[in-house]
Assembly symmetry: C2
Amino acid sequence: MPDSGPLGPSLPEQQPTPPPLPAPDARTPVVPDLSVTPTALHFLAGLHPPVTVPAPPSAPTAAAVRNACDTAAAVPHAQDMPDAVPAGRDLQVMSAAAAAASAVRNMPDTAEADSAVRNMPDTAELDSALQRVLRGPTGPGTASLSVARRYKPTLPDPAPRAAPAQPAAAQAVPGLYYHPVPEPDPARVEEVSRRIKRWAEDEVQLYPEEWEGQFDGFSVGRYMVACHPDAPTVDHLMLATRLMVAENALDDCYCEDHGGSPVGLGGRLLLAHTALDPFHTTAEYMPAWQESLTSDAPRRAYDSAMGYFVDAATPSQADRYRHDMARLHMGYLAEAAWAQTGHVPEVWEYLAMRQFNNFRPCPTITDTVGGYELPADLHARPDMQRVIALAGNATTIVNDLYSYTKELNSPGRHLNLPVVIAEREQLCERDAYLKAIDVHNELQHAFEAAAAELAEACPLPPVLRFLKGVAAWVDGNHDWHRTNTYRYTLPDFW
Amino acid sequence: MPDSGPLGPSLPEQQPTPPPLPAPDARTPVVPDLSVTPTALHFLAGLHPPVTVPAPPSAPTAAAVRNACDTAAAVPHAQDMPDAVPAGRDLQVMSAAAAAASAVRNMPDTAEADSAVRNMPDTAELDSALQRVLRGPTGPGTASLSVARRYKPTLPDPAPRAAPAQPAAAQAVPGLYYHPVPEPDPARVEEVSRRIKRWAEDEVQLYPEEWEGQFDGFSVGRYMVACHPDAPTVDHLMLATRLMVAENALDDCYCEDHGGSPVGLGGRLLLAHTALDPFHTTAEYMPAWQESLTSDAPRRAYDSAMGYFVDAATPSQADRYRHDMARLHMGYLAEAAWAQTGHVPEVWEYLAMRQFNNFRPCPTITDTVGGYELPADLHARPDMQRVIALAGNATTIVNDLYSYTKELNSPGRHLNLPVVIAEREQLCERDAYLKAIDVHNELQHAFEAAAAELAEACPLPPVLRFLKGVAAWVDGNHDWHRTNTYRYTLPDFW
């Protein structure tokens, strides 16, 4: 581990906190209550400081675009469309979340929208127990006990936020409900970028020389710094950055662009998974397995990145990561099965697959990267599991929306939410894309409502910090997609 | 839930115990130290009470049979065999575990062997901290604090052990290292069998009438009663029994005998997995998912069995089960990928796949079925993970050995350890089978050594009880395979 020493002393949260009595696990999840309570608004307003970003073009409503859409040219059964998607049904389904999203969408400037939320009278007047916990104790000698203050000194100075670097000028998907983020600390971005390239090239021999441009274009340093604003040190950031690079290397080499294929994927993924979840066998067969971990770039990257992670994480945090990676691999394998059989799933089936083939392993390490621990019993609570699933689902649909054009231009048919909606619900491409935005917005609102409810139900410091960390990851992830014009361009639907 | 009321008051262990400082997670697992320490012998002797079972025929050593084996008829490259598997290498590899296994194998009566172990002078003289913990505190008023005594009244009366029912007369694989178990309580077996059939037929419509004989032949009541001797009530046993039936229904219907196929399996498995790990999505798409959970027998069974389990388990126990089921599903998908591409894995690759396509989800619920909790941080310890993996691997190879003949007679090529060893190591069927026994025995010894070490390193009551529960599951699983002559017959290699 030449470039990463010990990660420094543990923060007080690193000691497991005695969990409260766990909430009963729900047998069947409840359809989200999308009404945003004053407490939720209050919690959420505290999460997202005002940030100036370029104004998106004025966004049409989905209904307005749908009326203007030439459906006959786009889908084979356009004559059935009015029955398949009655306007009344859509209106009923979208309910409060859609209305809120629409209100945000139609605001000319996101900063103004944020400001509007913060200035709502019922928000400003509330001073809930939750806010007091977020702020931490007050009085002489309590400064070190504030969660927010504890990592504040390592955050970038506010100055750079006012003068964002060039990438921040890229445009968001019009109509998307999201929160802008401060421009990531350029010094941290530069250092993480330098170190990750050294790791990729020197420690794990990740790519041949001709792929260097793609590696740089991935901008993983900017990505991870934006997603983990509370990481105490660059060493902590590196934990997330290595895993992110390893996950992408495996996806590219086993599943996607760089030699990937659905054929035989199950065998390859399982053997790679043993780099995360080690194999225990007889003395005769151990050496061949150990050697296998060095035999291709994805396994070298998994093995090395997991090694660093395990050294810094508690065993429960490592177990959580393994579980989330098993979910991810199951998701890859469902997608691969459908690719092999040419099956286009129902929209709900696609969304279920995307709950597994999902960013989830990235936000759920926020506590390890932050240098503290969300205790396992708090992580396992059904309400926490729901928050995590919704956050992962919202971020993953963001990926579908930003990578839509890239995937259309790739060889073969690539399933993503707009493509599946177009096919299964007989919508033209533009309508399907706009509906996918609505799906994202509803998921994002549901995530925020669920996080706010949990923050109120269980206002323990590691819970609140973890929820903030997940929210920060979601926002940073969107910002990376928005600004990564090397990889992504938006479709011409506006 | 017509046949299962609340599971009664929690045992004291159900409260999470403050974990000790976790052991560092190992970056690369250590090759097992197979030497059996006095402490290990001591711990293990306490696990296995003396039980009389029919004596196996005298078992030849692997080397003796190998010499007698007509390799030329069995494998295409028989002329290479002596070089491929030099006897010296085998001897070196098997080391202490093989010697111990061989000693057990050659004893004419297992009860004598057990007795011999218990009577070893260094064992009898030890009175370690571990044993004191297993026995619990002593003195007036401490009877209720003994783990062993707490569930003793619900165990079958010793009387039936002396007069085993007919199935116990079946023969074990000669040379297999295993521990006999007391004959399962016939009253419990009968009640579990009655209830599980009612659940299968009335609650989840598991099978058409013509499969009733196969369901009865599965003998799942006997299986689960043997594997969970410390279950406080039949309701607790039903938690395990429903899940076992559900897991087998999915395997049969999606993967194996009853309409299963590797084609498209990834999609089917993922959608079934959402019955365990619920989907969180928008209001529009929830109803279709909820309805999907009733749409076939495996999903009905998963959904119902998981519902009962979640009602009885803590959230961390439910999370553990989900993770183990994700592992199982990844294992199915690796096997399916190899079946689709006609790939015969290396022996180590096969064993790695079998660490996932594995009984693991069954022993790891032993605490929920026992009415207590192994706290999540103790479960996540690397040394506990190693114990669990080794136990799962040993039990799974037991399955390969007992189902060998059944699988040879099934349509298509069925990978199991003897088949893979024969193919990859150029051994005749008989040698390969005997080598697979040796692999099992080494795994079983490694499991027991690792469990004993962990019991000494972390002698907390829930850890000790969990280790005993896993060991009991391993023994019960072997006994079910041995006695299930409806499904299994041994090959004619002796």
